[in-house]
Amino acid sequence: MKAIFSKILVAFMAVIILASCSEDFLNEPKPTDGVSEPVVFSSRAGVEAFISGIMRNFRGQYTNVDSAGLNSIFFARTVKGNDIIQANNWFGFDYANDNREPTYRRTSFTWNYCFYMINQANALINGVEASTVLADADKKELMAYGYALRGFFYHQLVMEFAPTYSFDQNFPAPPIYKSLSTTGNGMSTVKEVYDLIVDDLTKAVDGLNSSRLGKSYINKNVANGILAQVYQVMGNWPGAEAAAKAAYGGNTAAVLNAAGYRAGFNDYSNVEWIWGSAQSSDQSNYYWGFPHVGTDFTTTSYTSTHINVDFASLFSATDVRRLFQLRSATLPVTDFRYWITSKFKFTFDADHPIIRSSEMILIEAEALQRQTKDLQAHDLLYTLQKNRDVNAIRSTNTGPALLEEILVERRKELYAEVGVEWFDAKRLRRGITRTGNHRIKAAANLTADDKKFFLKIPQAEIDANDLIEESINANR
């Protein structure tokens, strides 16, 4: 009798267990490594967290040592020129001007990374716009932030994947996206992309103010700086002059600090830095941090980056920017390793420069010269030159010679930072001829409007995008 009772009890329990609601059982687990869209767009703090996350990705470990983040795009431009010599090491193929095929890492990284950032910017713009909780003033400013980001990355993209603006405005350029999509858009034109960039950056300058969460973030000055570079490429000289001036504020004395130039280029609190990527020892891209990790021979690094003897000889002995040392006392001057530089000090918390005041001063100077205001241009140029070299002598150049002087000054000022030599050669439709003690010389020369000034469209994009024809790379 007791046995039967027990058996019934066991069977009853079994039925209870079987019938217990399994939907609840399955609904209980929730992800702990992410937050949902409403959390992000329901407060200014949420959106700022999103902005912070995007800024963090400026200096990530995206694909590999030479394809880490924005710094990798800049350094690839640097080694394509004549002033810097890269050993057969990371960026060696960029140095050979030979890293542009559809299946190469440079090509797919630059494409995917810029579009990744553009997609984040679109999510920011559209998420803020759709929010019914945020204040209107906040919405305007936060959307402006998204426009600045989108404009900046479309400018990097169009420079990397199309000939320059003045070459052919109808040349096929990367597709335009203004919202999230899981299907590909077709190619645009250079003109369409520049129209979008100018529109975005204009809205950004309008919507942003001078405040920001930190110097690695974008504010009105930074947006102006980006716009100045865009106008410089487009040849809109009044626009470039105004934007450049607005970017650094117009007071050269307040934004130049010669001593800071020799401090290792690793601290964005330097007054000359308008915008830089911040790093800390636990938020670092570690050994992916070019230029620092390639140029600094005093610590554990790739020790891969050298200075062309011809470039080094442009500097006077008293120029604060002449930060060159002999690699070894015994190397002949023809050896590519002859000069190295101590401009960049590598640590895991070394910040990366993006826009500095001296670049803006020189854009303004160039814009003035282009508008035949040679005297004003000369004043501005000399202010910078005198700051850098106490023995600087005001030159008497005018016209094209003055322009050349400004361009050389840009190289001397910005070497190994943002690829200035490549940027100028590309926009001015000039070639780059290798001289001096280069490791690879004529084979890596670039002619004017050389196709090697831009990359082919990645094969993976062509394969997955129905609107981009296989033949897109035929004339690239």
Partner: protein
């Protein structure tokens, strides 16, 4: 007739023996097998010297008292032990050790007679496991089960092999089989289980056998059952110990020594000077001599310019020559294993307890694995309707795991194949003399002394010394695994059984990583300690009702099961930097640089049923159905339905075969089913989230996560199987043939998206792949006499893979290109066209294009690698056939088992060899002896291009480095000698066996220098080498 004669002979021996009768009663009976009485069977009263042998009619008589245990043994049959009860008559039926059809096989949620199995199930029993030193038990399946392809790559003990049952069925979800341990899914690490504790492993291959694991059964299921005690058996104690040595199973690539190396490097520079910079030959040679040392950075020779302008070594006198392989690989690694077990049972309670200790050193000098496991199981018949049982298991292990594969600088094998012997182990000054520290000790040379122009900067793997890093870095894994598995079984009514089973598993994984504060990659932050502790908890509850009923010749069976599975990973990690020398714990850090932690949960809720029917045990039918809900999918699509139907026909039971002299057994079987897979890498693949952790300095940061398909759901695989089983000549030959076809439906696939959308892929259900093939197995009893037994087993399978649907025309994935109609494993790369005899440059093929840009079908050679066309080269990393071949010999007390496994038809891309054949393009990289046949002057016909210290693509990816990777391996050899019963009885032992055990003793391979077991994609990855282990041991039983 001969057999009968032999029996009579053994009978005579038996009769001539002296029986010593004690005062106990006489126990007698008949010993028989399937075909009738067996004469000559040994009957021993355990723990005494009383014994007997059966006579011509299988009869025996022996003195024994109740409670004593009778042991029956006969060659070729399984031993049987029976406890003497009240009755003085004990009849015994012996089972042949060859495959027995009445044998019970562990299948999904239960056991079945081998005869009634309708699907494809292969069981590997303890007798196979006992003959191998399987540190990870799964390696014992290799070569023993057809259709199972196993790769155990590398020489780090304690690592689990990669297993594919019937091919790779998934791309983005896991392709690993589901592991069921004592009835519940096992989520710990399988290396925590020692093989001596396992009773059997059943490999369930087709849909009908795995359907009850429907949701996760599409990649096959391995059901592991541990040893348990048996009711009514006397206590049995076994002890075994084993000690051995291990070294490399195969030889390394042949490297050139320092002298050759210097001359070769000179030649590379000379050629660059002469052919690229167009210097006159004499100048080119002189310049090469002068730049040789600066290009290498080091000079081990006593002369400043070690190679003269003619390319000859001036003097071979040198200050060092480093043999990195000798330093870093352990050719006398010690392996020792000891185990102790007790089992037995009374009339209503049985128990088994075992403990095992293993210590094994690995292929790389500091690597090792230490493990202690303990298992206890108890089963009890509480009363006539209730049975309960529990197994508890604890395992703890630690593993020293220096980096030994991959391309991080300290990776041991990569180092051996990158740094030539001209680089020193210890720091040298500019003159090549040793530099010592303040205590007079040598200092490891990290090759990053930029102050010193000679002997200071190594061009390759700068700022590292992989040998030094074995001591200066520490990588340790610790694992603790606790499992408790309990059941309660109630007989509710006649034929109706209820069983509830709860399995709880807790697994703690602690990974610890220290990088030196003084040298190496973290020296710039004064060292770094990273420690992660993950606690994985899984709980699995199964309630089942089973019902069996027979009406005359109609036999029915039904199971109704409910299952709930809960899984949680609780991860915690910390990292700190800034350590004093000799401080290795996080407490000592000056900068605690990061902390991390997360909890991830997964749940599955399931309902399942199985119906089976047979008529006269001749026609079998089975159907099963399972419904699963998984928390990995959105609530609308989380429930999946899985099913299978199967049938078999025992032709040998039909009248036309019943009395056939040749065919004793013949079974035809077939099954079809649809199974699932939810094992994606993401636990919430359907949720679009902003992921946390992207902080910008002090500001909290989130970013938009990858694009998701909110409706992603179960991957399903439609699987069919047709098979034949046969037994010939009194079952002396037993074999099976199976054909299978598995096609995935709704494959979980990372569909490529255009990168311009901001995402390069989206994980969704698209595409389809198919695996199909044939499996064969054959076991024979070649000779079976009283003193000599010889059995053979052979199994092999032909497995094929085909992509049947893709979302785009093709998808390039490394050196493969996926296209409908091709396999996932077909190589697609540039085709090497040899060396141009005129220039010594390498050549490849390229297509001739018509004016419209399409290939004309013609092809020509090119010296420009960028122009070379990529082709399907008609070679695959998937083998045509894999299998195993085993032979067992027993002569009197000697036994020998040899197991070979083999793989034919696969190709491997040996990038290590490619790197060794670089031909001095970059300076200071190790070189292969095969370079000797390089092109030296116009007209030379060779396959090795000239040495050229200038940009070239000679060793870029091409068929030049694609090699056939056939191999046969003597995987396990076990030679044993059992001491005669008469001898050991005095020591109160029932068994004592001495044995020699050798694993991976011989390897015959078509491509030498690497271990043939690399990976399914046919790629090398600077892996350490599998070990050849030779051990001696002893088993004791009493």
């Amino acid at each position: 007739m001969r057999l009968k004669f032999k029996w009579i002979f053994t009978l005579l021996i038996a009769l001539s023996m002296q029986f010593s009768f004690a005062q106990e009663k006489t126990v007698s009976g008949i010993v028989s097998d399937q075909s009738g009485p067996v004469p000559g069977v040994n009957v021993v009263v355990k723990g005494t010297n009383r014994s007997a042998q059966t006579d011509f009619d299988g009869k025996y008589a022996v003195r024994a008292s109740s409670g004593e245990v009778l042991m029956f043994s006969f060659i070729g049959m399984n031993d049987v032990s029976v406890t003497v009860g009240a009755s003085s008559s004990v009849n015994v039926k012996l089972q042949s050790t060859a495959k027995s059809l009445e044998e019970v096989v562990v299948v999904a949620y239960g056991k079945q007679k081998a005869k009634s199995i309708v699907g494809s199930v292969v069981t590997v029993g303890k007798e196979v496991l006992e003959k191998q030193q399987a540190t990870s038990v799964l390696t014992a399946l290799q070569g023993s089960v057809a259709g199972v392809n196993i790769i155990s790559a590398g020489g780090q003990p304690g690592e689990n092999p990669v297993i594919r049952i019937r091919g790779t069925g998934s791309i983005n979800a896991s392709s690993e089989p589901l592991i069921i341990l004592d009835g519940a899914p096992f989520s710990g690490n399988l290396n925590s289980i020692s093989s001596d504790q396992i009773e059997s492993m059943s490999v369930l291959k087709d849909a009908s056998s795995t359907a009850l694991y429907g949701s996760r059964g599409s990649n096959g299921v391995i059901v592991i059952t541990t040893k348990r005690g048996k009711l009514g058996t006397a206590p049995k104690v076994t002890f075994s110990t084993l000690v051995g040595f291990a070294g490399n199973a195969v030889k390394l690539h042949d490297l050139v020594g320092s002298d050759k190396y210097m001359e070769y490097t000179w030649e590379g520079i000379r050629n660059a000077n002469q052919y690229v910079a167009n210097q006159p030959a004499a100048t080119a040679g002189l310049n090469a001599s002068n730049s040789l040392v600066s290009s290498l950075g080091y000079n081990p020779y006593t002369t400043a310019v070690p190679v003269n302008a003619d390319g000859k070594l001036v003097s071979s006198e040198k200050k060092w020559e480093t043999n990195w392989a000798d330093l870093m690989l352990n050719d006398s690694a010690i392996r020792s294993e000891h185990s102790f077990a007790v089992s037995g049972g009374s009339d209503n309670t049985s128990y088994a307890f075992s403990t095992n200790y293993l210590s094994q050193e690995g292929n790389v000098v500091t690597s090792n694995f230490d493990r202690v496991t303990t298992r206890l199981s108890i089963d009890s018949k509480v009363n006539d309707w209730l049975t309960a049982g529990i197994t508890s298991f604890y395992s703890t292990s630690s593993q020293n795991f220096p980096t030994q594969s991959g391309n991080s600088f300290q990776s041991a094998v990569q180092w051996i194949y990158t740094i030539p012997s001209i680089y020193p182990l210890y720091q040298r000054n500019g003159n090549g003399d040793l530099i010592v520290d303040g205590n007079g000790n040598n200092i490891f040379d990290y090759g990053a002394n930029s102050a010193q122009l000679i002997n200071g900067n190594r061009p390759q793997l700068n700022n590292e010394n992989a040998y030094g890093s074995l001591f200066n870095y520490k990588i340790k894994n610790k694992r603790d695994n606790f499992t408790a598995n309990a059941y309660l079984q109630v007989t509710l009514a006649k034929d109706l059984l209820f069983k509830t089973n709860l399995a709880y598993d807790k697994y703690l994984f602690d990974s610890y990583n220290y990088a030196s504060n003084e040298v190496g990659y973290a020296s710039s932050v004064d060292g770094r300690v990273t420690q992660n502790r993950d606690i994985t908890t899984s709980t699995n509850l199964i309630n089942s009702l089973s019902y069996t009923k027979s009406f005359g010749d109609h036999n029915f069976g039904a199971n109704l099961i409910q299952e709930a599975y809960k899984f949680e990973i609780d991860a915690l990690g910390a990292q700190g930097e800034g350590f004093l020398p000799g401080v290795y714990v996080l407490d000592g850090s000056t900068t605690p640089s990061s902390v991390s932690g997360s909890t991830t949960e997964e749940r599955i809720s399931s309902y399942l049923g199985r119906l089976s029917y047979n008529y006269k045990e001749k026609y079998f039918l089975e159907g099963s159905y399972r419904k699963d809900g998984s928390s990995r999918f959105n609530s609308d699509v989380r429930w999946g339905d899985f099913f299978a139907v199967a049938g078999s026909w025992l032709l040998s039971e039909e009248n036309f075969l019943k009395d056939n002299n040749v065919i004793n057994f013949l079974k035809l079987k077939g099954s079809y089913g649809e199974l699932g897979n939810n094992r994606l890498t993401s636990y919430f693949p359907y949720l679009q989230l902003f992921s946390t952790g992207w902080n910008e300095l002090d500001n909290t940061g989130v970013v938009l996560g990858a694009a998701v398909d909110p409706n992603i759901t179960w991957e399903k695989t439609a699987s069919s199987n047709v098979g034949l089983e046969f037994g010939l000549f009194n079952n002396r030959i037993f074999g099976t043939v199976d054909y299978y076809s598995k096609e995935s439906v709704d494959l979980i696939y990372n569909k490529p998206l255009p990168g311009s959308t901001g995402n390069t892929g989206i994980t969704t259900n698209v595409g389809s792949i198919k695996n199909y093939g044939w499996e064969f197995s054959l076991s024979t009893r070649n000779v079976s006499t009283a003193n000599f037994l010889w059995t053979t087993g052979l199994n092999f399978s032909f497995d094929n893979n085909e992509i049947t649907e893709l979302t785009q025309k093709s998808f390039t994935n490394g050196n493969k290109r996926w296209e409908v109609g091709r396999s996932l494993y077909e190589f697609y790369m540039q085709e090497w066209a040899g060396v141009d005899p005129a220039t010594g440059y390498g050549m490849w093929y390229k297509d001739v294009l018509a004016t419209d840009g399409t290939p004309t079908g013609e092809r020509v050679t090119t010296k420009a690698y960028a122009e070379a066309t990529r082709y399907y080269v008609d070679k695959s990393s998937l083998p045509d056939v894999v299998g195993g071949f085993t032979n067992f010999f027993k002569y009197k007390n000697l036994d020998l088992n040899v197991l070979f496994n083999f793989s034919f038809g696969a190709y491997v891309y040996d990038s290590t060899y490619a790197s060794l054949m670089e031909g001095f393009e970059s300076s200071g990289r190790a070189a292969h002896q095969d370079l000797a046949t390089r092109w030296q002057q116009p007209g030379d016909i060779t396959d090795v291009p000239l040495f050229l210290a200038s940009n070239n693509d000679f060793n870029s990816q091409s068929t030049r480095f694609l090699f056939k990777n056939d191999y046969i391996r003597l995987k396990a050899l076990n030679l044993g000698y059992s001491l005669p019963q008469s001898l050991i009885e005095r020591a109160k032992l029932s068994k004592m066996r001495l044995f020699l055990q050798a694993d991976n003793l011989l390897t015959f391979q078509s491509h030498k220098g690497i271990d043939p077991e690399q990976d399914f994609g046919g790629a090398t990855n600077s892996r350490s080498y599998n070990q050849r282990v030779v051990s001696f041991g002893v088993n004791l039983e009493f």
